[in-house]
Symmetry: C2
Subunit: 141 residues, 2 copies
């Protein structure tokens, strides 16, 4: 377990309550994590996908600045803490079964979200019908 | 393991190759799954997030119609096979470390992606500063 404080959020109710209710009751997986999709508030481009433990989710909602749980470094991570490319949350949404959140953000600093220096982590498209192995095409968003 | 055929994709190379290379070498997690973000090709809205095993990913890329792995039903799932709301993949992208794919789609049938009947699974926003428990607001996309 990477997280022991999921009790900071309400216990999960019935399926109807989870899907149709108006109480935020996020579901954390067996590792105590919930997935977060991050898109650019202006362009709509998907910038990154990362994981949050309950502390990261709580901090993100309380401060309006995206925090994540780094699975590789096994620590809480305020996105942009080193690069300055912080993510200001303009809107946060949750899906039907409340096990994924979607953050619409404005990127601070130099505007790069990816650790490789690109604006979006999704800087390559998958080329349909390109044979084996399947090829990628570089086309930054 | 929910998947035993990840060998259908190339073995993973070096970090540089994964991040900067032009060969698709998806990373499946310990359960043999890779996450897929689905957005609307026209509006850019995030419609859903689901999981694929290697067979679902392969079928999605080969047919241009999104297939997933249902973790609850433990079976391959062609999205819309019952509802008719199939997802035609207009563009597929992959992130820096190739462990998440992003599908930009056109929704067939009645245009509902969510099993609850809404266009997007993300039909509720999280209300900042709404106290405890945190409140959601219904505002369909």
């Amino acid at each position: 377990m990477t997280n022991t404080s999921s009790s900071a959020f309400p216990a999960r109710g019935s399926t109807a309550d989870i899907e149709q209710g108006l109480t935020f009751q996020p579901k954390f997986d067996a590792d105590g994590l919930i997935g977060a999709i991050v898109t650019d508030m202006t362009t709509g481009a998907v910038l990154m996908f990362a994981w949050m433990n309950s502390e990261a989710l709580r901090l993100s909602l309380d401060t309006g600045i995206a925090h994540f749980w780094s699975r590789s470094r096994k620590r809480l991570w305020r996105k942009g803490e080193e690069s300055g490319n912080t993510l200001a949350i303009r809107e946060a949404r949750v899906d039907c079964d409340q096990d994924v959140v979607w953050l619409r953000v404005s990127v601070g600093g130099a505007g790069a979200t990816c650790h490789t220096g690109t604006k979006s982590c999704f800087y390559r498209s998958i080329v349909a019908g390109s044979g084996e192995p399947i090829r990628l095409q570089r086309d930054d968003l």
